[in-house]
Structure formats: structure tokens, C-alpha cells
């Protein structure tokens, strides 16, 4: 019997460096064909038909006076979208012209040289002035624009009107009142948590950190510095993690909840309050608490203040390797404009990014008022840097929260740890 291939030989094979280096694709700038098929990627949704109808209408309008152009729209599942983007980056032939991009994903795509710089196109667009500044920042890397904010979602405080009335409570207007109300609900209703919060719910925790004056990182001169271990950030972390106590939301029950988990808990009637988005309304309406809840802005520490919310949502952008650059920009602007923004709201309940469109839908729908108030108070965002992909993928913030909640580490130790990890992510 011959000896099997030895380990050394295998390692030698694995490390056997030839002269060749790994494949690196030079970025290809797209072309600007004026005819043919425009490829558009949008996100798939649970009730896609409604979204599809709006998009079809936009396509019909777009092609009406461009008979030589066809628009091919495909819908990407949320779960597979990052692979699709990577595929489009690595194989420009498969890339779309226009794509919907989760607003936290954009910076990574820009760093990978995937998105076209549309600064000039935006400057020329008549509707550009209608976009709020804090949202424009979410599509701006350096001083260049790489897309248009399309729709936004923010979170606010949902509470149970029936329970609050029974217990003689009023919706909280400060953090102290929030804690107080939560404890009273929990004390009176054993099967409920005071407020449903989650250890994996980054965007539920961030408002507390922002409100305390902290942040994940601050930028100066285009460079980010991690600040999650600043005294202000730690105060915010403490405020959030203190909610995971037995008399509010017991750690055992709440530490591994994601944002979706808190929606489920609130919808099932097992929580007095919850930090849910305007986009969660249909899920809540489908649950046991239909008709028994109302929404107010999430209060900050200072009485009467509103804690800054995360500006979630999605943007539209043009891929750098788009083959129909001008057409792509035109279609992007059509879809992101006020007209289709309002139509999309009517179909899906997504709040349009455009200020005037936002005003119009609020007038129609009183439910939105607390959310719009929150937006008007100013929204915040994650670092617009490719490092966010790493920070998110490595779950640095949830791990920090969970360590503190389970008392496996002190706030100081956990925040210092997370700060190092975030610093390392920016250094890459």
C-alpha cells in the first residue's frame, strides 16, 4: 500500500504560488445606448403585485414616447440580493441599468466601483430640490451622489390603547415616562412585557444612543472614527439595555429578539409597547391587536423631545456598467419622482422620500403623523462607508447589546471591544 498523498505535498499544492495573482476585473464604464432593453432590478415584496402595478404604469409612461425602448423589470428576493449585486459587479454583462438598493448597502456598492456617479444628472433634475438633506446624505459618498432616495421607513412607538386606558396611563413623552409606563403594564399584565425590545434589534437601540449624543462612528474629512465607547454612546446603550429587566422585558425572553421578533410580539398582543416602523402596520393589523393600538414618536430623555430615528428605506441608482446610461437616469428619476412616489405609497404604504409627496400622503393618512413628526425632527443614518457591510455582517452592535443584557460583560468592556472591532472594520 502506497502512502497517501502527504500533508506537506497538499499544503505545497495549496500554497503553490504560480506567477499569477487572483483575478481582478478592471471596472468597465457602461455605454449609452439609446435603444434596446433597459434592465431594472427592484426588490421583491410580500405583496409584489401592488408594487408591480405601479412600476408597470411607470414603464408604460416611459415607453410611450420612446417606442424603440423596452423595460425589463425583475424582482430580487431580499435574501439573495447581495449575491445578485456581487454577481452584477463581477460579471458586468449581467448587470442591470437601474437598481433599487437598500440604503445601507449603497456605500459598499460604491466602494466596489459598482454605481455610476449621477451628481450632474441630479443637479439638472427639476425635482432634486424636493429631497430632504438628511436623506440626500444617505446616497452621498464623499461629495458625489450615487442615487436617489426612493422611499423611507422610520420607527416610532406603538402602544396598546386598551391597556393604557385600563391602567390610566398616558403615552410617554420622555424616557423616564416610558420606563414608568412599561413597568406598570408589566406589573398589571403578567402575560405581557412592558415594551418589547430585542438584543438583535440594532435600529431599535440606535435611537437611544443617538438621543444620548452618541453614535457608532463620527466622520470628519471623509474618515470615520468609531465612537461606540464614548461616554454618550455608553449612556445610550445603558438606557436601552436597562429595558431588559424582569419588570419590563425579561432578558431571557427578549435578548435574542430581532426587529421582526418585536413586531411579532406586539402584533400577538404580548407587549404594552413596541418600537415598530410605519412599514410594520400591516403585520400589526393582521395580528390580535388590530384596532387596539396607537402610535407616538419615540420620546428622548428630555421631556417632550423625539429620539432621532434611523432613516431606513431604499434608493434607486444606476449601475456603472449600465449599457443605457441616459435612459437609466431618466427612468430612475421618473420612478423616484413625486408622482410615482405617491402611487407607490397608495399601493404599498412606503413613505415617499420627496418632501412634497410626503406632505400629501400625510394629509391623506393620519396614521402617518407620528412617523412624519419623527422624520421632521431629523433622522440619522449608519456610516456611509463600505465598512458598514462588515460591521453589520459581524453583528458587532447586536453582540455588544447582548453581552451587556446577559451581563457577560460590563457596558465599558463590551463597548471598548465593539469599538476596536469597528475601528478595525474602518481600517480595511
Amino acid at each position: 500500500m502506497r502512502k497517501p498523498l502527504t500533508l506537506t505535498a497538499l499544503v505545497a499544492l495549496a500554497l503553490g504560488l504560480g506567477a499569477c495573482a487572483p483575478s481582478t476585473e478592471q471596472p468597465t464604464d457602461g455605454t449609452d445606448a439609446k435603444t434596446g432593453t433597459l434592465r431594472v432590478w427592484l426588490f421583491d415584496e410580500a405583496n409584489r403585485a401592488a408594487k408591480e402595478a405601479v412600476v408597470k404604469e411607470a414603464v408604460a409612461e416611459f415607453t410611450a414616447n420612446r417606442p424603440e425602448v423596452k423595460v425589463d423589470v425583475s424582482y430580487l428576493a431580499t435574501e439573495t440580493r447581495s449575491e445578485k449585486y456581487k454577481g452584477a459587479l463581477n460579471d458586468p454583462a449581467s448587470a442591470p441599468d437601474v437598481a433599487e438598493v437598500g440604503n445601507t448597502d449603497l456605500a459598499g456598492l460604491v466602494a466596489a466601483n459598482g454605481m455610476a456617479d449621477v451628481t450632474e444628472d441630479m443637479a439638472k433634475w427639476s425635482e432634486a430640490g424636493d429631497l430632504p438633506k438628511d436623506l440626500v446624505k444617505t446616497v452621498t459618498v464623499g461629495d458625489k451622489a450615487y442615487g436617489v432616495p426612493w422611499w423611507i421607513g422610520v420607527r416610532a412607538l406603538y402602544y396598546r390603547t386598551d391597556v393604557f386606558t385600563d391602567l390610566g396611563l398616558r403615552p410617554p413623552t420622555s424616557y423616564a415616562e416610558l420606563v414608568d409606563a412599561a413597568k406598570k403594564v408589566r406589573a398589571a399584565r403578567k402575560d405581557m412585557v412592558g415594551i418589547t425590545v430585542g438584543g438583535q434589534y440594532t435600529f431599535g437601540a440606535m435611537p437611544f444612543i443617538w438621543d444620548a449624543g452618541g453614535d457608532i462612528a463620527t466622520s470628519s474629512g471623509g474618515r470615520y472614527t468609531a465612537t461606540i465607547d464614548s461616554p454618550a454612546s455608553k449612556a445610550g446603550i445603558t438606557a436601552y439595555t436597562n429595558l431588559f429587566s424582569d419588570d419590563i422585558c425579561p432578558a431571557k425572553q427578549c435578548v435574542d429578539l430581532t426587529g421582526g421578533g418585536t413586531v411579532e410580539t406586539f402584533a400577538a398582543g404580548r407587549a404594552g409597547m413596541g418600537i415598530l416602523g410605519n412599514f410594520s402596520r400591516s403585520a400589526v393589523e393582521a395580528g390580535a391587536v388590530k384596532g387596539k393600538y396607537a402610535v407616538v414618536p419615540l420620546p428622548g430623555a428630555k421631556p417632550g423631545s423625539i429620539a432621532p430615528a434611523f432613516a431606513g428605506g431604499s434608493s434607486l441608482g444606476v449601475f456603472r456598467s449600465a449599457t443605457h446610461r441616459s435612459l437609466a437616469v431618466e427612468f430612475m428619476q421618473l420612478l423616484a419622482g413625486k408622482k410615482y412616489g405617491i402611487k407607490l405609497y397608495d399601493a404599498m404604504g412606503f413613505v415617499p422620500a420627496m418632501k412634497s409627496a410626503r406632505d400629501e400622503v400625510t394629509a391623506k393618512e393620519p396614521f402617518l403623523k407620528p412617523f412624519i413628526d419623527t422624520m421632521d425632527a431629523g433622522t440619522r443614518f449608519v456610516p456611509v462607508d463600505k465598512a458598514w457591510t462588515t460591521i453589520d455582517a459581524e453583528k458587532i452592535v447586536p453582540n455588544l447589546l447582548q453581552k451587556v443584557i446577559t451581563r457577560r460583560a460590563t457596558v465599558d468592556a463590551a463597548a471598548a471591544d465593539a469599538n476596536n472591532q469597528i475601528t478595525a472594520a474602518f481600517a480595511k
Binding site: 499569477c20 481582478t24 456581487k86 459587479l89 466601483n113 435578548v255 453589520d392 459581524e394 453582540n399 446577559t406
Partner: protein, 298 residues
């Protein structure tokens, strides 16, 4: 090993027979494997892949970063213990049920083998989701039956590992059971009857008669279980939501995914891949060597 004298003379024949498989495997496996080794020596991320940024040769830098990371070592230790537990339990359950199958009536045998096939057929993703639903703290049947409303099975590290381990075993014992049962069936009846006449119990029969006769089959089963369980991904990823509370249930494959692939650090990811492969290889070679010492050959 018996040989076919006639065919043996044709020296080139094996090459021709292997050729079709190699045509697929060399470009689809060997070359990417070589690329994997190569990538592990570079700083290679999405900006390098598509952004025109040159890939930077970092030598063993990725490996140094990995070995210098405390988390890596604790995850590695955890993975080895978890995988070993899963392998042992899977083999024990599979072997015990295979023996059981030889002693039951036709109906029971058919029922059990169908049940096992059903568990085997369930994709890892769906199996994990169904179990998660059964053990859900609020909507789950298990808490309802046990009278533990709201009990969180994922809170304690060991309980969470046990639950995920149960799912891994559920998915993989059918392979062991059916393979060993089929093996036992192939052992001549007379040998088994002789053992029974000697008054040997199930356990003795298994150890004295079946294990020695089925050694080649057991070798395959053991090696495959080691490989599969060491690389477990879906069950952990889905059930503990990506590694458990504060990463307490992290295993190597999920760690690699989170650390490297989800954020497109392909160089680092490749380094982890190389390390995992080498570890598995060492374990397997040790096992094969131990077998050879006891007289078995590959």
C-alpha cells in the same frame, strides 16, 4: 482485493475510465481549490474583485490575523466539541436503530425506515425552521406540552447547542441507520444465527460480529459524519440566528461566513477555508492511520 487479471493488463484503461470524471473535477474543483489557496495569501475583497484595485499580496497575513484572533480559537474549540458530540450521538443512534431494525417485524421496519427517509429528505433549511417553530418560546408545541410557557431554548449556551445538535442528529442518523442496516442484511444469515445460538445479546453481536465485518462501511460512515458535522452551517445559522446570543453558539463555518463572505473579505474567508480543510484532513488521516494499524486499508 480481488483483481481482474485480464483488465489489469490494459495499463491505460483506468485513465480512460477516470477521464470523464476528471474532466469535470479538474476545472470545477482542483483549479478553484488552487485559487482558494492563492486567495488566502492576498488582501482580496469586493473593491479588488470588481473595482480595479490591485489585490495586495499579504503572505501569511490572513492566517496571522486569524490565529491572532482569540474568538477564532474559542470558536474552533467549540466547533470541535460540538461536532464530536454530534458524530458520536449520530453514530450511536444510527447503529442502535440499525440493530433494532434487524429485530422487528415487517410493519415496524417499514414504518421506521419511512420515517427515517422523511427526516433524511427534509432539506437542512426546512428541517431547522420546523424544529425552531416546534421549540418557539411562545407558539411552540414543546413548551405547551412541557408546561414551560415562554421558556427560551436558545438562552443557555449548552441548551441551545443541545437543541441544534438534536436537529443535526435527526437529519443525519437515517444515513447511518440505513447504511448499517443494509450492511447487516448483507452479512450471511448463518453468521448472525450462530451468534444468536451462542446466546449473544444485541450489543455483543454488534461488537463481536457486526463491527468487524462492516469495518469498511463504518469507516465511510464515520468519515462522512466527521466531515458533515464539522462543517455544519445551516442548522446553526438558521436556528440560533447566526451564532446565538452574543455569538455563544458560533461554529467555524458560520464564523467564516460572518467574518469573511458576508462582508466580502474573500482573502480572509479563503484562509479560514484552508484552515478548515487542513483540520479535517488531519483528523481523517489520523483516523485512517488508526484503521490501518488495526489491519484495514483505504
Amino acid at each position: 482485493m480481488r483483481r481482474s487479471a485480464t483488465i489489469r493488463r490494459q495499463r491505460l484503461t483506468p485513465l480512460w475510465l477516470l477521464l470523464p470524471a476528471l474532466v469535470v473535477l479538474v476545472p470545477m474543483f482542483a483549479y478553484p481549490l488552487y485559487q482558494l489557496g492563492l486567495l488566502s495569501l492576498f488582501d482580496y475583497g469586493q473593491p479588488q474583485v470588481s473595482g480595479g484595485v490591485p489585490a495586495r499580496f499579504v503572505g501569511l497575513g490572513n492566517f496571522r490575523a486569524l490565529f491572532g484572533d482569540q474568538v477564532f480559537w474559542s470558536v474552533l474549540g467549540q466547533t470541535v466539541v460540538f461536532a464530536a458530540g454530534c458524530v458520536v450521538v449520530t453514530l450511536a443512534v444510527g447503529a442502535a436503530l440499525a440493530m433494532l431494525l434487524t429485530r422487528v417485524g415487517r410493519v415496524a421496519r417499514t414504518v421506521l425506515s419511512f420515517a427515517a427517509l422523511a427526516a433524511w429528505a427534509a432539506p437542512a433549511m426546512t428541517g431547522s425552521v420546523v424544529w425552531l417553530f416546534l421549540f418557539d418560546s411562545n407558539l411552540g408545541l414543546v413548551n405547551e406540552v412541557l408546561g414551560l410557557p415562554g421558556y427560551n431554548w436558545l438562552y443557555e449556551r449548552s441548551v441551545a447547542f443541545a437543541l441544534v445538535g438534536a436537529v443535526v442528529v435527526w437529519h443525519s442518523f437515517p444515513f447511518v441507520m440505513i447504511t448499517l442496516y443494509a450492511g447487516i442484511q448483507a452479512i450471511p444469515e448463518s453468521v448472525r444465527e450462530a451468534a444468536a445460538l451462542d446466546g449473544a445479546g444485541a450489543f455483543t453481536t454488534f461488537r463481536r460480529i457486526i463491527v468487524p465485518m462492516l469495518r469498511p462501511l463504518i469507516t465511510i460512515v464515520v468519515i462522512q459524519s466527521i466531515i458533515w458535522d464539522f462543517k455544519v452551517f445551516t442548522q446553526i445559522y438558521v436556528m440560533t440566528r447566526g451564532g446565538g446570543i452574543a455569538g455563544q453558539n458560533m461554529v467555524l463555518n458560520v464564523y467564516a461566513y460572518q467574518k469573511a463572505f458576508a462582508s466580502s473579505q474573500y482573502g480572509l474567508g479563503s484562509a479560514i477555508g484552508v484552515v478548515m480543510t487542513v483540520i479535517l484532513l488531519v483528523v481523517t488521516l489520523f483516523y485512517l492511520r488508526a484503521l490501518r494499524r488495526s489491519g484495514e486499508a483505504l
